[in-house]
Symmetry: C2
Amino acid sequence: MNLSPKIESFVMHCGEMGSRWGFNRTIGQMMGLLIMSEAPLSANELSETLNISRGNVSMGIKELQSWRLVTVHHIKGDRKDYYLPAGSIWELANRVFEERRKREMDPTLSLLRAAMLDDAANQKERYAQQKMAEIHDLLETITQWAGELQSISPDKLTTLMKLGSGVVKVLDMKEKFLKGGNQ
Amino acid sequence: MNLSPKIESFVMHCGEMGSRWGFNRTIGQMMGLLIMSEAPLSANELSETLNISRGNVSMGIKELQSWRLVTVHHIKGDRKDYYLPAGSIWELANRVFEERRKREMDPTLSLLRAAMLDDAANQKERYAQQKMAEIHDLLETITQWAGELQSISPDKLTTLMKLGSGVVKVLDMKEKFLKGGNQ
DNA sequence: ATAAAGTTTCAGAAATTACTGAAAGTTTAT
DNA sequence: ATAAACTTTCAGTAATTTCTGAAACTTTAT
């Protein structure tokens, strides 16, 4: 299968960005192509369209599945696996965020938790531990916040994002109304 | 200069995470060490403490400066450059977010803008362009939102993040009060 | 049980990225 | 102008990551 120039340039761009987004070139291309394609694609189609080896496609799919970005589709009377994006653009982006948060913040959080348990032996360690505590708190706040945002329905979240810094005004308003009482 | 085990393990961890955070091993270590160190450090101190070549330190500092994560400090009567983190942990995290957003989303946004200008030649292109439009809108919303969040003062932002999904309730409340009228 | 159609694995090759160290460059002092 | 103290650059090397392709494996049909 060969691609129209516009689609091809998008797919190649996904390849170039791939490593910045957390995977690698071919995996980026594969994902880009799957998104651009209305019909699910077989591993062979991916391999031929992108000119990458069959083995590489197999590894790439495994990786994309570990990110929960692709799912398999079957056609009756055909035993090939066909792959397609695992949800809307919105959901895909969500998964990338979440997965990256896990890979980029969770390991550090546990290291910091451990480091903070036993206490400092001297001034240098005292300073260091204070900084570690700051980092820990920040990461924890972000992690919690990210989790809660993901529990909001996409359309509410869109409203919230469109509101932007206007949120602050709304929060101030709340303070005004509720000053004194709390729930 | 040599490090206490606790500090060393944090610094090494920063090295291991470095590439996930968008830089590389030594740059991660350098940043980790600078954060852990109360006094600014010279390039030679970085080089000796971390056992990396002087040249590598120089390149690393350049890179960290391009991320706006370190600044230079001078001591009267000493012409060495001493380096220190460019702000609080909070500010550093902010810079990393912003810089990554620029590197990971802006190029794609411009590609998509261009691709959406001229119109589709056939059904496949029509489908592809629709997906590109979805991606474009999502990236644009996120970019805008990120920009606005950065304009909020750290303490307001902390309040907001601590509130988490509770924001939704507040928003609903606003709707109730203002139904019919706007702002 | 065998063959056909498909998928996965993995050792080695290729490509990319990071690092070193010596040479070139810069700044300050005299 | 020269030297001393320091920094940067960059060609070559080392380390790491990615990719290939052939062999091994799995599943389904006969």
